[in-house]
Amino acid sequence: MSLDPQALRRDFPIFANNPGLVFLDSAASSQKPNAVIDGVANYYRTDYANVHRGVYRLSAKSTELYEAARARVRKFLNAKHDSEIVFVRGATEGINLVAYSWGGTFLKEGDEVLLTELEHHANIVPWQILRDRIGFRIVAAPIDTTGGLDLPALEKMITPRTKLVGVTQLANATGAMVPVETIARLAHAKGAKILVDGCQSAPRMPADVQALDCDFYVFSGHKIYGPTGIGALYAKKAILDAMPPFQGGGDMILNVTFEKTLYQEPPARFEAGTPDISGAIGLAMALDYVDAIGRDAILAHEEALTGYGVDKIASLPGIRLVGAGQHRLGILSVEAEGIHPHDLATLLDMNKVAVRAGHHCAQPLMDKLNLGATTRASFGVYNDERDIDAFAAALQAAQKAFKR
C-alpha cells in the first residue's frame, strides 16, 4: 500500500487557502484534514452537550461519543483497556500528570530519574520541578558522536536507584530514532518504569504499547492531524490504579463532603472538570484518518522522504545536516554556513517555505551539539519530493543572498 501525497493534500484546506505554501513544519504541529475540521464542527452542530452529567438524551450521546473516542485511542495504541487512556491537553500535560501524581507519590530522595540528551523540555522540566520538591536526582543519558542515543551508556546508567526512564521515541530537534523497546527491557530488568514520549513517533509509525511494554506513553493530538488542546496519556492499569488525582474538581469524584472526598476510578480520576470533549472526538477522527491511510504506508512515506531529503541536503555545498545517529525519521535539522537559523527561516518564508528555526524546545541537546539553533524541516502525509526540492532551492537562494 502506498500513499499519494498529492491526493491527500486535497483533504487539507490550508493548501487551497495558501497557494504555493510549502509546509515543512509538521513536527511543530500538523495541518488538519477536512474530516477533522468538519467533524468537530458537525459534532457541535448536532450532538453537543456536556458529558457524564445529564440524564437527557443529548448528554448521553455526547458521553457515548467521548468514551468512543477513548476506545479509539486505546485501539490506536493497542492498549488493553479503555481505562488505561487518560485524555490530557497534550503530551506536556501527560508528562506533568505522571510527574505530579506518580512521581510525587513514588519517588523519594536518593532515587534517580533517567532521561536522555535528546529530550524535549516537556520531558525535562516537569521532573526538575518535582526534583526540587522531593530531592531525587535527574541523570541524562548522552548522545554519541553521530547524534544518536548512546545505548550502551544508557544501559550503564540504569541502576537499582533508577525508578523511571523517560525517553522520546523520535527526537523532535533532530529526527533521531530511539529504540524504546530495548530501553523498556533494560529498564524493567532493573525494576524501573519507562515513559515514552510518542509526540513525533505516533504520527509517523505504528504504535503498540503492549509490544513496547512501556509503562507510560504520551502523545499530542495536534501533531497527528487532530485538534490542538487534546492528547492522551496511556498508563498500565495497575499503575494508574495506584496513582492519586492530578487535579481536583468535578467529574473525578465519587462523593464529596467538606470532610472527605472519594475519588473515581481511572481514567475519570484524572479528568477533573469538563474535558475537551470536541477535542477528544476530533482526535478520534484524526486517528481514523491516519488509519485509513495506513500507518505502515505513512512510515514508508516518511522513510522515503527522509532518504530523499538526506541525499538532497548532502548535495548542497555549505549546508550541513545535524547528526541523528543511525536511524532518522521525518525530521531534517540543518545548518547553513554563515547564516543564522532565524535569518534562514525568514529567507525561506519569503519563498513560502514554512520551517521551524530555533532550539526546538531542546536546549540541552543544542548545547551538547554546540548549536544555538537549527533550521528544521519536518514531514507529514501531504509532503512530497517537490517540497524538499523547494526547501533545497530556497536554501540555495538564501545562501546567494547572504554571499556578498
Binding site: 554563515g338 537559523p341 535569518d343 525568514t346 528555526a357 530555533g358 532550539h359 544555538g372 543572498a401 547572504f402
Partner: protein, 154 residues
C-alpha cells in the same frame, strides 16, 4: 516583499562584520539581553561620562538582524547624551513595532536615518525582537548600573 528589502547591504555588512564587538574595559554599566524565543544573546557595555555615552560596545551571538542592530546602535550612541539615546530608541522602537511615530530633534535625524534599513522587520512580527534586543539591553544597563541584569524583550 523581496528578501533584499529586509536584508539590505548595510544589514548584511554589519551582521557579518559587527562594529564595536568586544568587551569594554572601562565600562561603567553593562547588561545581558536574551531572547528566549531564539536563543539570541547580547551583552551591551556602556561607559558613561556624566550624562554622556563616552563609549559603548557589545558581544553576543545571534541572527544578522540582531547583530546588525547592535552594531549600528553602538556606532550611533557613541557621544550621545542619555536624553538623545532615549529619543533615538523611542523613535526606532515605534518604527519597528508600527507604533505611533515619535520624532527626533533635527540634530538626530541623520542617526535615525541610519537605522531605517532595520525597520523592514515591522512586516515580520517574529523578527521585531531581533532588532530591539540590543536597545533593550542598553536601556537595562543604564537602569541597573554596574549590576548586570538579564532583560527579556517583551
Amino acid at each position: 516583499m523581496d528578501l533584499r528589502d529586509l536584508y539590505q547591504d548595510i544589514i548584511l555588512d554589519h551582521g557579518q562584520h559587527p562594529r564595536n564587538f568586544h568587551k569594554l574595559d572601562h565600562a561603567s554599566h553593562f547588561a545581558n539581553g536574551h531572547n528566549p524565543l531564539c536563543g539570541d544573546r547580547v551583552t551591551v557595555y556602556v561607559e558613561l561620562d556624566g550624562n554622556k555615552v563616552k563609549d559603548v560596545s557589545f558581544e553576543g551571538r545571534g541572527c544578522a538582524i540582531s547583530q546588525a542592530s547592535a552594531s549600528l546602535m553602538t556606532e550611533i550612541l557613541k557621544g550621545k547624551t542619555l536624553d538623545e539615546a532615549d529619543a533615538l530608541f523611542k523613535s526606532f522602537h515605534a518604527k519597528v513595532t508600527g507604533g505611533s511615530e515619535t520624532g527626533v530633534p533635527a540634530e538626530l535625524e541623520d542617526d535615525a536615518e541610519r537605522l531605517e534599513p532595520l525597520t523592514g522587520v515591522k512586516t515580520y512580527p517574529a523578527r521585531v525582537k531581533c532588532a530591539t534586543l540590543a536597545w533593550h539591553a542598553f536601556e537595562a544597563a543604564l537602569k541597573n548600573g554596574r549590576i548586570g541584569a538579564t532583560v527579556k524583550t517583551e
